[in-house]
Amino acid sequence: MKNEHDLALDAVRARLDSAVDELDVSTTERLRASRRRAVDAAMAADRGRSGAGGRFGLPTFGFSPFGLRAGGLALATGMLVLATVFLLRSQPGVVPTASESPVTVERVDILAAEQGLEFYHDLEFIQWLEAHQHAG
């Protein structure tokens, strides 16, 4: 059984409920519009985060403005490097050297690797030195 204090709180709750029920149409419309914007924002963010079929059920097939920008660039760069390496290595009997070809496997490897350029300059010098020692 409720005591007087609880009954008073019930009455307060009822008064507050009636206050929100009495909100004017303009305010309730603006709240509804705000809610729609919030739900739309969540759906858009969900499409950006997930691939095919996010939580909000809209298929995106992995394409979203943000995903395409970063992922697509990385994919395109990787494919370009792989294609170049494949084409150069698939030529039978041709072993490209630094002096014969402007774009060699070695240089592609250099572009793809994370080593500093100074390391490769030193490497060329060592190769040149070794070749001269053999010749001498």
Partner: protein, 185 residues
Amino acid sequence: MPTAARTLDRFLESVERRAYYMARLATGNEQDALDITQDAMTAFALKYADKPRDSWKPLFYKVQQNKIRDWIRRERFRSRFRGLLGRGRAQDDDPTQAPDPMQDVPDPQGRTPEELAGINGFLGDLQTALATLPHRRRQVFLLRAWEGLSVGETAQAMGCSEGAVKAYYSRALADLRTILEEYTP
């Protein structure tokens, strides 16, 4: 509308009016209350919509509480320059928390209860009493007594300890004693 979006829409629909009302009590004006409620809904939808459904309500009010707090801080900053905030600081000490400027804010715009009561007929006796409560006491009272959040959920929403929630709630009840007596059958 997809199921998850519909669930989110229904949840926001269930809290938007009360959230707006709380924001209006805190800000004292319709436009700021609408802005706060919209910001809270959007931030909640973007950040917490993937959380379990039963945790949504305290999380939503946590977001809204932060928006109200930001608004109060901005208002206090502006008020200092306008020289309109010359009222005494309310005593709402929390033994478990570091001093928080928010807890001392009866009304950021420095309005009297009479002025508050006159705003578009929006505020009655109860609302006037609520509007003049220090911010944290009012918010804890509304979350506990009106929204039905537990002590733990209210603490999560308010970003304070459960002990602090109990202290704020009992002080709010003491402050509202006169008005509650009027509502006692």
